[in-house]
Symmetry: C2
Subunit: 270 residues, 2 copies
């Protein structure tokens, strides 16, 4: 009798709806910038990021998740919220989730969202913003976006040479910042100068941050890459050049750390 | 005649000394903490890091490099410096360098260095230090070390739950900080309180950083992980609890960015 029960248990079959190979191919292609542009979509992975997206009203077209008996409570609750908001959800295999994932272990849930309409630089008029030049490291860009969000900056302008802000690594490090910022890509600092911001560039040879008099709001903080700093061309457009002096022989600060210190000091709004 | 020349050129044979499989196995094992402890060594990859190590007088036992005709000028000059300092250098294949590398592309040069003798907490007496609790992300730990170095902090104490500071990713993100700091591992905050530092813990519910009166030197800044913050036990040992208030609905700051802001504000030494 025991053998019979064992036999019945062993033939339990799990039916998981398979994602079509065409759809899987299209989704994995979203890990690359040109396909994100082509399809106007990007990927959002993990409970925390998807929760932020849902609460910010981001348009999520679909959400894939692992089978119910493998879900933790946070994942279950996220999927329920998505269903309640009318977002199509679909169970899929760990293998598929891993193919879509940007990390070594998938996070059980992944969604696809529409890229927001490109913001117009003009809409930053009257409000402070951060202009980034040649920030190519996705983790650094994401961390800067997260920091800007924390301090209440609403506008981020990226030069043409910056990494795509919808690159999965940038989105992951941003931790929800993307849904709460206006991001201007292919931005031109010269055009920006027409909007009336005080332009403040960060450079190792600038005026020490702590000796600065108050900077007038709205202003535009300009930061460059760790390797090259703010270009001479952009420095020439700046009203002020500031620095974060160190006390040692160290070469430089991480650009996201420098951005945090500058935003903390300058963008001090109630 | 031309054919003959071509023939001669084509039989040029490159003799690259092969690293023995035993040595390669031992070296790759250094990417794991337990083998670093076992052998008392760690890996240093890339020109910039090795240059910092050489100029800080780090004991490098050996340096491997790619063949001369594949080296760039920076690599050549580094290898020359190493030779002048009496460090054994050896040519090896791209394949071997990639096996030793922590990144997707090897950086042409990699060295093995002796782990420094564990520092004694007592030697931080009279000087400010940074105590880190459960910082498990290697990139964050490395960036914090780099930031501490920049601001002239000399002492870093790590709780038992922190990632190993000689993990290759930490070393890479540290960008030379390791050679210029005293790093105390398995540190205990309670023991530290006996050394007379003012203990200042960072927590979201603490006193806002900008309203702080000057903190007396020497002090010990305590920071926890992004997920858990500073433990209640450690907060109970603190003389002061401080925070970096945000102006938005964002969840938290990146821990390395927060460390940068706190160190910039507090450790303001000439």
């Amino acid at each position: 009798m025991n053998y019979f029960v064992l036999f019945v248990a062993s033939v339990e079959v799990r039916f998981t709806i398979m994602i079509s190979s065409t759809e899987l191919k299209r989704l994995t292609s979203l890990r690359q910038g040109k396909y994100r542009k082509l399809h106007g979509q990007y990927l959002l992975e993990g409970v925390r990021l998807l929760e932020e997206a849902l609460s910010a009203g981001v348009k999520i077209s679909k959400l894939w998740h692992q089978p119910e008996d493998e879900q933790n409570d946070l994942q279950k609750s996220l999927i329920l919220s998505a269903v309640q908001k009318g977002i199509p959800t679909e169970e899929t295999t760990a293998d598929t989730l891993l193919k879509l994932s940007d990390t070594v272990h998938h996070q059980g849930v992944i969604g696809v969202a529409s890229l927001p309409k490109p913001a117009e630089l003009g809409s930053s008029r009257g409000e402070s913003l951060l202009y980034l030049e040649e920030i190519s490291d996705p983790g650094n860009l994401g961390t800067i976006l997260r920091t800007a969000w924390w301090f209440g900056i609403k506008h981020i302008a990226l030069s043409l040479q910056c990494v795509d802000p919808y690159n999965p690594k940038v989105v992951r490090a941003g931790m929800g910042a993307h849904f709460n910022l206006s991001i201007y890509t292919r931005a031109n600092l010269k055009e920006l100068t027409k909007l009336g911001h005080e332009i403040v560039a960060a450079d190792q040879n600038g005026e020490p941050l702590k000796s600065l008099k108050k900077i007038s709001d709205p202003f535009c903080l300009v930061m460059g890459s760790e390797a090259h700093g703010v270009s001479e061309k952009s420095q020439a457009l700046a009203d002020k050049i500031i620095s974060i002096p160190g006390n040692s022989g160290a070469d430089s600060l991480n650009v996201a750390v420098a951005a945090g210190i500058l935003l903390f000091t300058l963008f001090d709004k109630p």
